[in-house]
Symmetry: D2
Subunit: 366 residues, 4 copies
């Protein structure tokens, strides 16, 4: 598969660099008959670029998408949906002074090794700017999921070592409401207040924080995901680790499972109040054998602290000389990159699930 | 991509159920000119089935592969390599008593939901038996990697909450030697002794333990992995989460990164003693922007405790009646499934890297 | 996509050389719930190896398949179906004398150029032997198509310049019956008699003939095939040109369309006797814009004359010396390779259609 | 693979409808380091839209591309190349009167069957307008091929039954020069004059003509194309049949091979004047076993007569009533659609070859 394409039936291809004229998304395989407006896409794009709070990067592009194809009379036609998002607030000149330095925690060294050339302006293709295209595509995937009453949400679960209490996955809509009411996308207000303090401290020190996001989905039909290499968690893991700054993925009990016993960890099958099959616990996180059980899907994603910090660092020039590294004056950066990733995690989850629903239509002969 | 196929250029397709006549692997895209013998494949297969120690399942199949194609005069020809491994020790009759019960922690419920039919004998396609085909393919991938002097190794890093000290990633060959000298594939003998005690305790209780495996590779050429959706860590994450019983993946600092500050986490570029570019720390784990830096690759995989335990559990019948669940008498099972996964992790890592090396040949025009 | 894999959802991967121990097929993505027996697969394999008539190669392997996976209780489970066909009648020693010669019309020159190594025994991977794996997979695809009452058939339409009269595509079942009742798979008995004479003449001269096969299918649901690069005719063309010895593909009017006018060629939409939409003619051949109309699908495939002939030819040795080329004594070969391709064309058509039916399930949102 | 994506490593994804705001192309997998300017792309786009001669559609969009990504400092960076071509001359209102009629020879019936919705304006996604995106991508592929001194050319070989004499494939550059000097892209001036007369006659009658295009390439490295399903001719056939209005594909001797004998058809290996391996004839058309020999590649593509004609036709309304069908006044259409396909065939050939060159880098281990 091309390295800029994600998915199997419901497929996203993205293009565009941080400081080029535009970034774009092509969604191929979106089924016909979905009602979509560019306003709906813009709504999700705006979640990605708060700008109006001090905890994220001040870049204020006010992204607006132009839908170029695939929609007719307000509905998807089955044709590929081309979406363009122009880059407006992109002053590349400030990257000139650091263009010959290896940026700590960034990709310019490896891109140069691989390609022999690098669009250093704003990180080029390796910039988180690319994720705007994912969010646009995710908005369309969500419209498809809505047909099946699937609810999904991502939120901040931990920042700087401060974690929220176990969230209630049986009320995803409520969780989502609380998340988007909070300036740092954390559904637990009290914990969020402490996190914000931590963020402010790091910001003052010219430093940055890591964090953990959680993604959840409810009302999934059982049967999503495919055996062996197409396991739902394998697809989600690949989706999440394809995001800039991610360092880990876990589903259900995750790494904690390594410290549990089988007798604790096995979720016992049982009937719920309405007589449907459920399990008493959900350490599995919503899948068994890589296929959705119908119980809430739950996974977590680890983000490293933002690599762009104001503190002076030590590095090398391209020609191998020791140099101090300072961010160019006026550089924008997030004290905690995880926060802005919330709508992106949601979008990637939506893309994985939309694809899985379509693939699942091919499981049985009739 | 078909759900039973892994990889892009160097591609593995597997087939076969736990209790069917055989499992098989087809490796397509293996370059021509590699020396391969079936003995080399059998050697890796034997690592997967220790049998000769009490800490893993007593199933003793003595897997031997039959190479059906793709090798001529002892060398790969560029044609697909078909490998067959017969199932010998597969008594399916003991699965009869539990065929109408939902197996806790297993996939029969979800397979039935998805396909309406399930080969319940020994877990069918969802069995870890499928991983023998991966190990066979991995043996071939390793031969390719050897051309580039790449060294790789997987080992037990934690079992039942007991972790080894930080391993030295600069001597992967030594690490590998220690690993395979130890009955539970743990390179630290002292820690291994404590782990073994834990395992024996769990076994006596009819219970099981989870664990964490680590995979490492050194002497990687820089430039492996592709931007955006083909990031090396995304491919590895997908590979690892496609393994039965895995719950999480992390690269480099992983989830610990979420508790670090940018100033701590950014690996500072520096020169090593021979004047080559390196970094003072390696929290990144060997990639930047999803592309290998040339520094040691390091990742970890979380395994849940084995789902098959001797302790009685509670479950439902297919028709929804409450039932106790007991393993059929004479069932084989591992007290800690993570241990046997060591050669499998190594094989999947080899497959990912072989594919990345081939893809990387297409990065530059000339 | 790997070069040994065909299809998108319903996918076939083949392996095995002409004179290796076996050839094999892995069918991934076959939906669950189809009744399949190995006898059904063997039936189609036998069509491919008449042996009992003088017009095709006397190799009499009596192919029998071993189904290794994917079937449980006589039904497909959704797991990949592994099929093995052992090579029995493969005496490689006679290829020794010609192993250092460039074989006219064969692939040893190009394989050597590409891979630097070639399994010359019986043509290795480039042998038509590989098509047995396709026929086995096609037998399974046909079982799926039968659920939708689709009828399909391939037959000899022209040999040595002798063509059958326009066949009646409205009775595919009858056409199929006539085809398989004829020793050279030609549904028109009178024309077949003339063709047979031609074949016998060529055989006596130690020469060979080319031919044209036609593939037809009726009762196709409208909507199969995808716009742009997934057009049904593009998939069929690719399938047909992937067969050894094919030189051309045409759908409907084909190359004759180049000599027609628009007013003649446009099929006028009309209602049939039962009030359903049809067209008065079917120059289109069953698709419009690459998507099936529901009218009979019809295409033709050109085969070159068999490259292996008894007549002496002129060639070069691998080291570039002029040499005469004679087939080794006792070599088997077909005077007209097109004949044996009939069940293969049928199999490839079935694979393309099965895949298209599954993909079409993803066209609409609900 | 998504139905709007073509290729394996060097991959093209297109989007956009005839009368939407724009069409676009994303080229993923283009290697880094190629010099590309938007002028070069525009040059090829202009070949597709002569407008200045009376033999093709008078639509005069003067396509200009906007390159949105993937180029930095005038060179490709390895990132996906996004290209946008705005639709300017697109008056959709004239399609209103025919939107409820089944268009003879067009795709609105099948799109409606498949998707339940159709963007009828100018044929929507099924329009030949989409091929502008292919031509843009082909311009980039050609730059890559130029690194290897490959010369390629497509031209008109037959229109309305009038064929050119056998072209000399040993001087492709000259052939190309003659082709583009001729208003109907026919390298043989005398034959072209007769063709033009035929075209004018058809035009006067409100009718249209079919034709045959030929594609050729020289200086191909041997080894391009992959065995079995990735044969070079299979890829070319798929590429060509994915073009609107195509009905057939043949390589080398093509359908004529069906009337030849083996002793005539087998190309005898020989040495050329400089002592290199060649063949005395080239009926094969440049491949053996699906892999390039290094001899000139040659294939032909059949085009049906343009479906849009001025003559009144008979059709049905969407609700099944008999209706006359007349093109809306002011409709643009080509009397012979094959002519404008010349640069498109060239582009598709370039895409196939660029992909094959990259894939071939993975054939050998070292």
């Amino acid at each position: 598969m091309g390295s800029n394409t994600f998915g199997s039936i419901f497929r996203l291809t993205t293009f565009g660099e941080s400081h080029g004229p535009a970034i774009g998304a092509v969604i191929d395989g979106c089924p016909a008959g979905l009602h979509i407006s560019s306003e709906e896409v813009d709504h999700d794009l705006q979640l990605r670029q708060p700008g109006n709070n001090p905890y994220t990067s001040p870049r204020s592009e006010q992204d607006k998408c132009e839908i170029l194809s695939g929609i007719f009379d307000g509905k998807t036609t089955g044709a590929p949906i081309g979406i363009l998002i122009r880059n407006k607030d992109a002053d590349s000149s400030k990257y000139e002074p650091i263009k010959d330095l290896l940026r700590p925690g960034h990709a310019n060294y490896t891109y140069l090794q691989k390609y022999g050339i690098f669009d250093y302006r704003g990180g080029g293709r390796s910039s988180a700017r690319e994720t705007a295209a994912r969010v646009a595509a995710g908005a369309i995937a969500k419209k498809f999921l809505a047909h099946f009453n699937i609810e999904l949400c991502a939120f901040v679960a931990e920042i700087g070592g401060i974690a929220i209490p176990e969230p209630d996955l049986n009320h995803v809509a409520l969780l989502k409401q609380k998340t988007y009411a909070n300036p740092i996308f954390c559904p637990d207000e009290k914990t969020a207040a402490i996190m914000i303090k931590k963020i402010e401290e790091a910001k003052e020190e010219g430093d940055s924080l890591g964090g953990i996001l959680q993604g959840v989905a409810s009302h999934l039909p059982p049967g999503l995901g495919d055996p062996v290499y197409g396991k739902l968690e394998a697809l989600l893991a690949s989706a999440m680790l394809s995001l800039p700054a991610t360092k880990g993925f876990e589903i259900g009990s995750g790494f904690a499972a390594a410290r549990m016993k089988g007798s604790e960890h096995n979720d016992a099958f049982d009937l719920d109040d309405s007589g449907r099959i459920t399990t008493s616990t959900n350490f599995a996180g919503g899948t068994l054998g890589g296929i959705s059980t119908g119980l809430p899907l739950s996974f977590r994603v680890a983000f490293k602290p933002t690599s762009s910090i104001k503190k002076e660092q030590s590095t090398l020039s391209l020609s191998g000389e020791k140099r101090p590294f300072n961010l160019p004056p006026g550089s924008r950066h997030d004290p905690c990159v995880a926060i802005r990733a919330v709508p992106i995690i949601e979008a990637m989850m939506a893309l994985v699930l939309a694809d899985a629903i379509l693939l699942n239509r091919c499981a049985k002969a009739t």
